[in-house]
Amino acid sequence: MMETFSTTSDKIHHIIKSFNLTKTLFVSSVIIGEAHTGKKSLARYLFPHAKLVSGEDQDEVMSALANHDELIIADFEKLSNQSLLDFSNKRIIATANYMGNQTVIDDLFAFIYTMPPLAERPKDIEHIKGLFLKEAFSTLMIEPSSVQTDAIPLNLTSNTKSLKKSIYTYLLQHSMDKKEIKSVLYHYLLKHLDGNDGYREHLSLYEVPLIKAGLKKFGSQLQLSQVLGINRNTLRKKLHEHHLD
């Protein structure tokens, strides 16, 4: 499959431009950036026919270096014999999660690029979120129109990885029916039910979301107590019990 790469980041456009210019030259380049920012995808997209090896397997890297003039080395930071490598007159594209030994990197590579983290690429976030949503709806077999997707809280601490998790978790949480929620609780309780105060200890699983959602939906405690059909004082006691006041 041909890799595609889409970005609206100026910084990445400059990286692509520089790579396109040097595509036919024998120079070594490295893309350094946090995990899951698209470094490997970018390398694959720019050099679709290049042999790809991982720095996790030193022997494979060495034999690939001996046999190929064009090579993508992913996970370069994991390679322990960096300072012994000879890239002369080869086209090397390496990707690394971090710089490691700066002197060695500086010595090996002519072009040292920094891949910006996803948090610095707002438009890319929107684009990638769209891709993951499409994938998630299809994988989880959820009808897209059944879930509101505008306000999904996105976790970007691990770039696309945590972004993807945010989306799958959100979709699961917003598409479960009663039966599935009961099943989730069943498996949770099966694992955790213990001791001699189990009823009270696990009541919060029901009461906390009930009260939180109720307050959000109905605003005041007065109204909520009416909707729940319980005494206002009972509700206030519950709020205090669950530290919701």
């Binding site: 040097t22 002519a110 072009f111």
Partner: protein, 230 residues
Amino acid sequence: MDINFQPFVEWDNSPFILFSHQGKILYLNNAAEILFGYVSKKELYDIALSYAPQSFGYKTTSLTLNYDSFLFHAITVGYENEEEITLRLYNAPRIKPTRKVESEKLILTDINILLEANIALFRTKNTNPLKLLTDQDLPAFKIDQNTFSKLLRKIFDTFKASDSIDISLKLLFGQHVMIDNKKESIAQLAIHANGRYADADEEIRALASANHIKCLLKEHSIKLEIPLIQ
């Protein structure tokens, strides 16, 4: 036998200038013509007067003169009448490259591509305004693409905090350098700005010399004289 010496002077690699007593140039050879791109007529005329012999005749003085990439180690000043005075500057020998050119390692390259690519790399990190004036007709020449790119990266990085970076690339007409007994043309890459960092200068010098490139590092500029190895 009557020998016409003028062509010898004309094509001498060392600059030769004949001034009138008012400091006007009456004659100059090719090498001097190039030199005048970098030093004023008045400055050289003043030097001629300062080092002139006491009376008619010729006097050679050892001294170091440096104009841009030109380096001279001696001058001869002479006059045979009150009307004219001559100045000859002696080129200091270029430092012979200690390493042989490993020409099998060199690849025929369009330098403009490497330049553009390095500018793109620079722009991924910096937003400084940058102007490039290049000679698209510069012939391709043989170079170690990786080390040369590294050299360009290090040079550009010294300008990371500068405004108005001007880059120009041109052929130095009429100038040559001998590499492995072959006469090669020279291209000049010059980068000017309002200032630069000097912390990588040693590395830049080392990378340049590994590529048989002469480099001139100044407070506001870097100039490279790149042999166009064919």
